[in-house]
Symmetry: C2
Amino acid sequence: MKRITIRDVAREANVSVTLVSFVMNAKRDKDGKLDCPVNPETAKRVLEVAQRLGYRRNFAAASLRSGRSNTIAVIPNDISNKFFAGISRRIEDKAHELGYTVFFASSDENPEKLGEVLDAVLAHNIDGVIVAPVAGGEYAISKATDMRVPVVLLDRDIEGLNDVGKVLLDDEEAGRMAIDEMVGKGYRKIEMISYKLGISSLSERETGYRKAMMDHDLYDFAKIHYTTYSDVAADIEQIIQDALSRGVEGLFLPTYSLSAQVLSVMKKQGIQTPKDLALVCFDESDIFSLYATTVTHIVQPLKELGEKSVETLVRMIENGPAEKTVLKPTLVGGGSTNQR
Amino acid sequence: MKRITIRDVAREANVSVTLVSFVMNAKRDKDGKLDCPVNPETAKRVLEVAQRLGYRRNFAAASLRSGRSNTIAVIPNDISNKFFAGISRRIEDKAHELGYTVFFASSDENPEKLGEVLDAVLAHNIDGVIVAPVAGGEYAISKATDMRVPVVLLDRDIEGLNDVGKVLLDDEEAGRMAIDEMVGKGYRKIEMISYKLGISSLSERETGYRKAMMDHDLYDFAKIHYTTYSDVAADIEQIIQDALSRGVEGLFLPTYSLSAQVLSVMKKQGIQTPKDLALVCFDESDIFSLYATTVTHIVQPLKELGEKSVETLVRMIENGPAEKTVLKPTLVGGGSTNQR
DNA sequence: TTGAAAGCGTTACCAG
DNA sequence: CTGGTAACGCTTTCAA
């Protein structure tokens, strides 16, 4: 079963390979007309023959010759993480709609792995990259921009990178919303747990928390506890004990994994929300509706984040400017912040 | 910033392009020796020059010429689904280890989309495909095998497809385990909820359920309720009401989404487990440990499933046989099946 | 509106 | 061990 090439189609349709190439690449405009300098009748014949023979363009060849691949890569830290599971489909759909195929690969929260993956990306003639950057990934990313490969930063910002598109959440606003919600419901001693990761999304949420506490004249109560991925389980037990003993009334948990950990500890120790501790969690999960008390949480506009990042990237690929978009979070109310 | 080609390296190292190609493709054997017919000194020089010039192989060209791409595609029904979120990383890691890059794309439980995606796959010279097949996807898949592209079926079996590798869960055993657990703990009237999807994994779990009920002389109590993705929310309320009114004691839920739905309904209606209804759920989720009562569930060996599927595929790409592997599930005990 | 021909950067083949 | 050279299938001038 030999591969059908453009030449086979050309021979069968009695035209040159050039013509076939034109026809196969022509996009249809709104009237369904092929926008290429080819006689419509000829075009139709070519299309028919191609169909009949089962012709399929060889991407490797096209990519080699044209230097483009109509493929973009998406590099989250972890494909299997909550946030990206929700966003990957949106990215795929939007990319498909714009005529691009998507490549996923994890950077594993590891600048070296990010570097490797970006190397692979460059080696594959990929047209552009969407990255959720790792702390310390500036160098790897600048290597891509140096090679003139368009890059869009998703979810996390890195300062001082030029000509990079950005699609971010208004993380400061997210922090603020969490606090406003709890304060509005009568909680005052509100603390926060965060990761020491050095990534913009978290530090902005912390800023939002601090500013909101200040605006409510509660800054004396403000306190942020820090933990790491590896110690989170042990640390959180400690933190919660400590917090309760100091009469803390509410907790803001700026990521899903922190939220899950806290809920788990509270369940194990019989600590109830909101009676013992009010909670505002982050991202979406069945857990928030299935936990003994439903949990108030802040959700990111995943659909918009995903679609916007693709649109931004494609625009850059087509020599457009590197835009920056900041999207707003939403708060979903639950029992964990019921009126005090 | 011009692209460095193999020719630049050849010129700079005073050797032919052939030599450079040999060196760049040579794999190191266990002693760190390059296994290629090239003078080690020459090889070393070439390697140095390549390094210094920043040479990177152009995959498009290599793929065009060799017909291979060292790339495999993975096509789940939904990238963002629970099962695949957990397995994708394993696949990626194993593939990387074996020198392959991975492409993900969803088939969306839709044979046509699967066909499209497979077309794209073929057009990209991809070396092999791992598919979680859609009901009705036989045709699309056979198109791939007709083109001599190796295919591995993951998670779901399709009969009558030749030369296809398979990596499956022992789904019948999973069903059996669920029932044995509940019966062992004193429950007898045990029913099951399933999807009308026509996929092997579900029907095998149903078989396991039926056989186990028969073995325990409880076949008169056996009953399987069916629902669909679109009606699941409404149907389940109905089913649970009905079941309780008939004195059903336990429920086996053979997928994560069914499990989440049932837990949600039970919570809303204040139905408690195991007091009112014992439960055995499926797959992994934070929910099972965070629900008011911890939930007994059956887990799949995701790591093994992922790794094995890659190994099987790569072996097939290298002209090995199409193997079939069946892996065993495990039961994680929880409060939802406490002794009656 | 059409076609001929020149590559794109590699790998495969055949000679030496 | 090493090197020359012909493909691979396509896009892209350029000329007709």
